[in-house]
């Protein structure tokens, strides 16, 4: 069982739900990112997603786009993020996931990326512009190296898509709460509950929900339906405003029952 799977397994036993915050590496600096990861772990995060900046982040809303721009201006690259994870790994005990667009991975070389990611202590990878049909090389090699590959599903996903994604996603499934980009306004309705139920039933894998969750109240409602809650833009915004993320993340943790 991978470290990510173990988190969900432990939570399942106690009825808790995973809290998965996202931050953009290198915004405002790699040094700051190191501190934020420690803050997030202390504030009750179960898994942390670390974003790799890309020049053209087409699944992201303005908050994360601007964070990526700031990070790129600092000279952040995928290689530097891998180096950062290696440092963070010295003290961090929870799973770390890289969220990156596919081109930086492709440019580095899929095999080399996976080898270096695993060596640096990365537990999983989320690539929002990579669908299962194009991911054969990545999932094949990642499987051999024990790196989880988390794929996404959306409210538009048909039964056929759910089956396909469930077949290749490891660690958990990332359910995009809205038809939209990161940081959009969340709308929770019966359709979301039905789709989530269907995803859980078809896949038999943990499902974490992300995109658009911005406060403890929404987090708590999502936690009732899903196995995990992913919060990105709201945290990235707090960092951009120079405010303290610990208080916010603790308030979310309070709203989402953890390992008890």
């Amino acid at each position: 069982m991978s470290r990510i799977e173990q988190v969900f397994e432990d939570l399942r036993k106690t009825g808790g739900k995973a809290l998965i915050p996202y931050i953009m590496a290198g915004d405002p600096s790699l040094e700051a990112t190191k501190k934020f990861v420690a803050d997030l772990e202390k504030s009750g995060a179960d898994i942390i997603e670390i974003g790799v900046p890309f020049s053209d982040p087409l699944a992201d809303g303005p908050t994360i786009q601007r964070a990526a721009e700031r990070s790129l201006q600092q000279g952040t690259t995928l290689k530097k993020v891998l180096g950062l994870v290696r440092e963070i790994r010295q003290s961090c005990r929870i799973p770390l996931i890289l969220m990156t667009y596919f081109n930086p991975v492709f440019k580095l070389g899929v095999k080399r990326f996976i080898r270096e990611a695993v060596r640096s202590g990365v537990d999983g990878v989320i690539i929002p512009d990579l669908i299962p049909e194009e991911a054969g090389e990545l999932t094949g090699i990642a499987g051999r190296y024990g790196l989880d590959t988390v794929f996404l599903l959306a409210p538009t996903s048909t039964k056929e898509r759910i089956r396909r994604v469930a077949g290749v996603s490891t660690g958990f499934i990332y359910y995009v709460s809205i038809t939209g980009i990161t940081g959009s306004k969340l709308s929770m309705d019966k359709a979301m509950k039905d789709t989530l139920d269907s995803v859980k039933r078809v896949s038999g894998k943990p499902v974490a929900v992300g995109f658009g969750i911005s406060n403890p109240e929404e987090a708590s409602r999502v936690a009732r339906l899903a196995d995990g809650v992913i919060i990105g833009s709201a945290i990235v915004k707090i960092i951009a405003e120079g405010r303290d993320i610990k208080r916010f993340v603790k308030s979310i943790r309070k709203a989402v029952q953890g390992r008890g």
Binding site: F106, L152, T179
Partner: protein, 400 residues
């Protein structure tokens, strides 16, 4: 290697190692729906009849294949024919695709179309198609391009489209595409994305090519009638690559030289250009795998061309494949060469070409001069230059 390049792509949208689908999962159902709808309607007699009648009465097809006698004599080599896409309604080949996609969107029950635009030609074409078919229309355009192309922005608004400014990233075409993809991801249920070139995720590269291939199909018939034989060489400019594929596709089974002309900007060594084959490498960008101008960490580089329509960091995946199998040769013309050709064609033939098409003219002049007087070249004159007059005057230091 595939012996039948005209039969590609494969079922997953691959042209050899290029193409495919690299998009957020949210869009997959829409792409599959589009693929099925297109597969159905491209064989649907009613759809084809409506498209054909609009091509004739609304776009003004067939466009002439014009023998450029004065230019030919000026160069003193091969006989140069111009395929006059500049005479299409709205002034460029873009309408061939935009109108067909608007019809398809209406057939699919969509109520809204969106599109990206750089110089504004595809935006105007899409707004035109939307006005004709009664669809709501929103066009994404970088704030830098909005400033440079104020006239086209007003044209789109006259046609009833909403023009939305994109002021993030480089504020140009690629950012407009990102924003259009984000809109589509959000409004996918009622919205069709009218991609303007042979790029993006499958089925766009194949579908846009098919809608543009009427250019080559007509040119083939016209040259056979005029010269009783096929040409020796085809030349077209390549931005995303839709006008060039449109011309080349009907000739892929013939043994003819074909040349695609990219934007050389200030020259390859300056880094200020949009010559993906001369200066790029394999990458994944905005939905497909293709040649891409990128840095060593995989971030997309800024581009430069005097012509906004060629100013793009990547190129249609089918072009990469045609290059690999040696079917098409790719070269580039610099800003300076294109501007010279812009003036040359204006003076010799009384035709002001789009700056994009002027790149093809520049290459045609070079090529024709090395060929015999019996040889025949067809150049795709993809658009007219009215939109560029102000830009060219500015470059020449003339205040209009």
């Amino acid at each position: 290697m595939n012996k039948k390049p005209h039969k590609l792509p494969d079922g997953k949208g691959h042209f050899g190692p290029y193409g495919g689908r690299f998009v957020p999962e949210t869009l997959m159902p829409a792409l599959i729906e589009l693929e099925h709808a297109y597969g159905k309607y491209k064989k649907d007699a009613d759809f084809l009849k409506e498209l054909k009648s609009l091509q004739r009465d609304f776009i003004g097809r067939p466009t002439p294949l014009y023998f450029a006698r004065n230019l030919t004599e000026h160069v003193g080599g091969a006989r140069i024919y111009l395929k006059r896409e500049d005479l299409c309604h709205t002034g460029a080949h873009k309408i061939n695709n935009a109108l067909a996609q608007a019809l398809l969107a209406r057939k699919m029950g969509k109520t809204r179309v969106i599109a990206e635009t750089g110089a504004g030609q595809h935006g105007v074409a899409t707004a035109t198609g939307a006005a004709l078919t009664g669809l709501e229309c929103e066009i994404y355009m970088g704030s830098e391009d909005i400033r440079r192309q104020a006239l086209n922005v007003f044209r789109m608004r006259l046609l009833g489209a909403k023009v939305t400014e994109v002021s993030i990233g480089s504020k140009t075409l690629k950012d407009a595409i990102n924003e259009a993809l984000r809109d589509w991801t959000t409004n996918v249920r009622n919205t069709h994305y009218v991609m303007g070139t042979v790029f993006g995720p499958h089925p766009y590269p194949a579908m846009v090519r098919d809608f543009q291939s009427i250019i080559g199909a007509e040119a083939r018939r016209q040259i056979l009638k005029a010269e009783q034989r096929l040409p020796d060489c085809l030349i077209a400019c390549v931005g995303g690559g839709s006008n060039s594929i449109g011309l080349f596709h009907a000739f892929l089974r013939d043994n003819i030289k074909m040349t695609g002309v990219e934007a050389g900007g200030h020259g390859i060594r300056t880094g200020m250009h949009a010559a993906r084959f001369a200066g790029g490498s394999l990458g994944i960008f905005q939905g497909c795998k293709s040649y891409l101008l990128q840095d060593r960490d995989g971030n997309v580089l800024g581009t430069h061309s005097v012509s906004a329509g060629l100013d793009y960091a990547s190129v249609g995946p089918e072009h990469c494949y045609l290059r690999d199998i040696g079917k098409v040769r790719y070269t580039y013309a610099t800003d300076r060469e294109a501007l010279k050709a812009f003036e040359l064609l204006s003076r010799t033939e009384g035709i002001i070409p789009a700056l994009e098409s002027a790149h093809a003219i520049a290459e045609a002049v070079k090529t024709a001069s090395k060929m015999s007087r019996k040889s025949i070249i067809i150049v795709n004159l993809s658009g007219r230059g009215d939109k560029d007059v102000q830009e060219v005057a500015g470059i020449k230091g003339i205040d209009l």
